[in-house]
Structures are given as structure tokens and as C-alpha cells.
Amino acid sequence: MTTTVRLERVTRRYTIGAAETRALDDVSLTIGAGEFTALVGPSGSGKTTLLQLIGCLDRPDQGVITLGDQVVTGLSADQRADLRLRSIGFVFQFFALVPVLTAFENVELPLLLAGVAAAERRARALGLLDAVGIADRAQHRPDQLSGGEQQRVAIARALAPRPLLVLADEPTANLDTANGQQAMEIMQRLNRELGTAFVFATHDPRVMHYARRIVELRDGRIVADRAAVAVA
């Protein structure tokens, strides 16, 4: 299996006044192509920090991060932005859609930024909205959608640029059980169909069931990394 992400001895510290927190402490981790991996661990264990570092939203204090075949530590802000645009999709706990854009336009947005031609943008955005089951809501604005629907739009948007990897930080935390399951099933299906790797942070045992690999963090360190039997 080819490697999508590699972290080598990555440390991220936060200092507030005199107090220093090692949000991530000397973490090494490899994510392969097409993985469906859960990051678990108690609150404050470093899950969000890890996703932000993998996603080039933040920079480590120490260590090296490689995405595909590119070392991302040391890239400029613009280079990191381009990497996020083309190679990484994000799904946030808060649904994080642009409120003034319709569902369709939200999904189209990264394609616009990437300079994809209009016809292609349209086809891809509609295809993805269809894949997440809300093609009929394409012209709705986020405030006209339910939480579950919004999260599905966010998933469609994350996948629009055909990234290597989608990072999801507690994607189901603001959803009820049924909607949470639906979101997970959609991600699982798209992972299988498109081969896009998914890494999601979660507290929710029901969500962990979908994972094929579970990485457990505690106090900024990986304390367990095991294969799991995903629910079908």
C-alpha cells in the first residue's frame, strides 16, 4: 500500500504564559492510501492538533511531515494552501459551509479556486451532491438545510477536488445517531468507491465501528494503533 501521509517524530507545543502543553509529543505515524482510520482518545489528547498538522493548517515545532511525496514542513503559506486545495479535504464538527452560498456553490467553491472549467465544475459538484443524497437540495442555502444535510454537503465539498485524503474532526458530534450513521456510511462508501483516504477524530464508539484502523492518542502520544473489523 502506498503511503499518503508520513509523520516522523512530530511535536507540537503550546505555551500559554509559563505553562507548556505538548499537544503532540514525538509522534510518528503513517497513513496509507485509501485508509479509513479513526483517531480516538480522551479530550485534550491531541486529535485535533494531529489533524491540523496533517492538513497543513498548522506547523509542527519539530519533526517532518510528508504528504504524498512532498515534505510539507517548510513549505510557504501559499504552497500549503495549494496543497490543501488539491490534496486534502476537510470536514469539521461545525458544518462549516459558507452561509451565503448554496449547497451547489459550496461544493463548487474549491473547484473554482482550483480553476476547473465551468462544465466540469458543474458535473462534479452535482455528481457529488447526488452521491451524498442531496441532489434535490442543490440550490438550498445552508440555513435551509438540516444539520445532517449540511454535513453531507461538507463531505461532498471535501471530495470535490479529488483529494488524496479527507480529514474529519468529529464529523458526527453535532448529529443525531441516525444522521451520524448516515454520514459515516456515506464516507465509508466514498472511501471504497473513490479510494480516498479518510482520517477522522472521534469520541463516539459507534463511529469507531466504521474504522478499519484505530489510532489511539493519550497526552499527545500514540498509545495504540490497531486494525479493526469495520462494520460493512
Binding site: 503559506a77 490543501r84 476537510f90 469539521f92
Partner: protein, 410 residues
């Protein structure tokens, strides 16, 4: 850059807080309208004052004796033109010349039974078309005729000061060519009101021959005053005139003081313009800063999706430009209406205020604005540039946010 493709995002962002967007647009519009109106007014007043001065005093071209000095009302013979008649006739025959007439100026003192006022005496040929304007400004009585040996006309306000009216008697004292004071009695024939205090308060007009006799100037005159149908023909006419032994001055040279004064007044208005533009810019900057702080998290999401800092900056600047453009368009409409009002109805000002501008500046009692499209266009561009630049700091702030900071909302 994909900013051009993001205009729908910028446009809709402005629709989020309609009230704030509305107020900002109103602020830009009012600023723009205010600028247009002050600039129209200043252009109108400068124009008006210059036209007044040219029409009533200087003419477009003056021919004087070679040795005559500017602004001096000397009637010493060497300061006068010896026999201006033929030269005036020659000038009158040139194209664009509407009037070419000899004038004898001197300073004098006009006295009634109870009052006396120092003033400028104009010895004129009443038949010259140059005085049509003054003839039209006559309030009472009649205008001068060449054969009225003892007739004068004067401004209504001067008549009030002297407490005389048509038919009343006045005594005029002037210094003659040898510097000896000479006095004669006159009958007020007519009273005019040009609306220009500088003229209405300080001028008395009498037939040329009368003033020549009184000041012992024989057939001499201070100048030949030439009026044209178009000020732009000044150079052409000046070139065509035979000026041997004479000194030619154009309206630009003769109205230097007016032009200078108005120029310094305009400098003050430029300052006012700058202040208005700065206020508008700070309103825009504030609006954008607020809207950016309100949606830091959203900017974080845009950054996470892969928008570059520069594109975030572009988006914010685009929003400012849209705000500015909307305000400018509204301002052009409001300001256009205001300028139309100023151009047709104008603003009445107090005599004393018009008078304060000084004798050199012929400000009328009513100030009219004048549409100056090229100035308005410049103002609109300046406004657009400034409102866009005002987005600079907020936009720069947003553009250099680390995605994680923005996502956390600070």
C-alpha cells in the same frame, strides 16, 4: 487569480448585514454628493466671479499706454492713450470682438448733501455693447447717453449710502492730470444693481467726454477695453491687434488677483475634499473590519479549503470596491440632483459675505454651482481608490491569518 470568479461570494457577503451595508453605502453616497456639490459650487463661483470681473471691469483684452502701471488710476497724460478712437474702431472690426471701447478711469470722491464715498470713476461710451449688461441691471431711471454732460449712474447700494436717488444731486471730485482737485455737480440718472458688491458700492459711471473734461484729459483714455464672444479667442484677437506704442493685457493677466484668490480658496476645498474622503474611508475600513471579525471562522474554512491569503485579501478588497462603487453610483445620483439645484436655483448669500471677499473679487449675491464632469469623474475615481485602499488593513489582517487561528475565531 480566481478573484474575478469569486465576485458572487463578495456580492453576497455584502448582503449578510443589509443594514450595515446600507449605512456604509449611504455614507459613501453622501460623501460623494457633498464633494460634488462643493466642487460644483467652487467651480461656479470662480467662473461667476471671473465672468463678472471680465464683463464689468477688465474685458477680455485691454490696450493701455505703454507706460501705464497696473491697477493705477492715474490720469497723468503719459499714462493715457492719446487718441483711442481709431484704434478702438480697428479692434471692433476684428472677428470675435463684440465691443471695443475707450474708457477713462480715475479715482474720485462722490458726495451728497450728507455723505461722501471714495470710489472709482468710469468715463465710458454709453453706446458700447460692453455696457449692455449694466444697462440690463438698471433698477430705476435711465442709462447714460453720450450727450448727458452732467449725468451719472451708480449702484443702488452706493445710492443708499449717499441717500440719493434718481434725479438727486451729487458732487464728484477728481484729481486732474496735473494733480489738482476738480469738482463738478451731477444729477443721478439711473441706479443699477449688478448683485456684485464690489461694483455696486464703489463705482460711478459718467460719459467719457464728461470725465475727460473734468480731469483735463482732453481726448485721452486710460484704456481700450475689448470684449469677445469667446474667451478662448483671446490669443487670436491679441495677435491681430495693432498695438504699436501700447501695452496689451489679457483677461488672465488682468484678473490675476481673482484667479490667485480663487486658487487659494480652492486649496481649502481640496483640504475639505480630503477630509470627507478620509471619513468615508474610515467608515469603509470599519465596516470591513467588523465583517471580518464576525466571520473569522468562515475565513478559516476558506483557508482550509485552499484559498490563498492573497485571495482572501482580494475577496475583502473586492467587497470594499463593490461597497464603494455602489455608494459612488448612489452619490452620483444624489450629487447630480444637488448640482442641478445649485446650477439653477443657487444659494443666496448675504451681501456682507459677498463684500468680504474684497473689491478684487466680484462675487455675486447668489452663488451658482456649475457641473464639472471631469472633476466629478476624478472624485469618483479617488473615492473608489480610497475606499478600496481602506480595505487594505482589514484585508491584510485577514490574509495573513494562519488557518488554525482563523478557525479558532481569533
Amino acid at each position: 487569480m480566481s478573484i474575478a470568479r469569486l465576485w458572487h461570494l463578495a456580492w453576497r457577503d455584502l448582503g449578510r448585514n443589509r443594514r450595515r451595508t446600507g449605512f456604509t453605502i449611504i455614507a459613501v453616497a453622501l460623501g460623494m454628493a457633498l464633494l460634488m456639490m462643493t466642487n460644483a459650487l467652487i467651480a461656479g463661483v470662480v467662473d461667476d466671479s471671473l465672468q463678472n470681473s471680465i464683463m464689468l471691469r477688465t474685458g477680455h483684452i485691454q490696450l493701455r499706454a505703454a507706460g501705464a502701471r497696473d491697477g493705477e488710476l492715474s490720469v497723468r497724460w503719459r499714462d493715457l492713450l492719446l487718441d483711442p478712437g481709431p484704434q478702438a474702431a480697428q479692434a471692433a472690426a476684428l472677428p470675435h470682438v463684440t465691443s471695443a471701447t475707450p474708457v477713462l478711469w480715475t479715482s474720485g470722491m462722490l458726495a451728497s448733501a450728507g455723505e461722501s464715498v471714495g470710489l472709482q470713476v468710469y468715463g465710458i461710451d454709453p453706446a458700447a455693447p460692453a455696457y449692455d449688461r449694466l444697462r440690463a441691471a438698471l433698477r430705476r431711471g435711465q442709462f447714460l447717453a453720450a450727450d448727458m454732460r452732467d449725468g451719472v449712474v451708480l449702484g443702488e447700494s452706493l445710492a443708499d449710502t449717499l441717500r440719493v436717488d434718481v434725479g438727486g444731486q451729487v458732487r464728484l471730485t477728481v484729481a486732474d492730470s496735473a494733480g489738482v482737485a476738480r469738482e463738478a455737480g451731477f444729477i443721478v440718472q439711473g441706479v443699477f444693481s449688478t448683485g456684485i458688491p464690489a461694483f455696486d458700492d464703489h463705482a460711478v459711471l459718467a460719459p467719457l467726454a464728461t470725465v475727460q473734461r473734468l480731469s483735463d484729459a482732453s481726448r485721452r483714455a486710460s484704456a481700450i477695453v475689448i470684449h469677445l464672444d469667446d474667451a478662448r479667442a483671446t490669443g487670436e484677437v491679441a495677435a491681430a491687434l495693432d498695438v504699436t506704442g501700447m501695452r496689451l493685457q489679457t483677461w488672465e493677466q488682468l484678473n490675476q488677483q481673482v484667479i490667485q484668490t480663487m486658487r487659494s480658496a480652492s486649496a481649502f476645498y481640496v483640504l475639505l475634499d480630503a477630509i470627507v474622503i478620509l471619513i468615508v474611508a474610515s467608515v469603509i475600513a470599519n465596516t470591513l473590519l467588523m465583517s471580518i471579525f464576525e466571520r473569522l471562522r468562515e475565513i478559516g474554512v476558506l483557508l482550509a479549503i485552499g484559498m490563498r491569503g492573497r485571495e482572501v485579501l482580494g475577496l475583502m478588497v473586492l467587497e470594499a470596491a463593490l461597497l464603494g462603487a455602489a455608494g459612488i453610483v448612489a452619490g452620483l445620483a444624489v450629487g447630480g440632483a444637488g448640482v442641478a439645484y445649485l446650477a439653477t436655483i443657487g444659494i443666496s448669500i448675504d451681501r456682507s459675505v459677498a463684500g468680504v471677499a474684497g473689491d478684487a473679487i466680484a462675487i455675486s449675491n447668489t452663488m451658482y454651482g456649475r457641473a464639472v464632469p471631469e472633476v466629478f469623474a476624478g472624485l469618483a475615481l479617488a473615492m473608489l481608490a480610497i475606499t478600496t485602499a481602506a480595505a487594505g488593513y482589514p484585508a491584510w489582517y485577514a490574509a495573513r491569518l494562519e488557518p488554525v487561528q482563523a478557525l479558532r475565531g481569533r
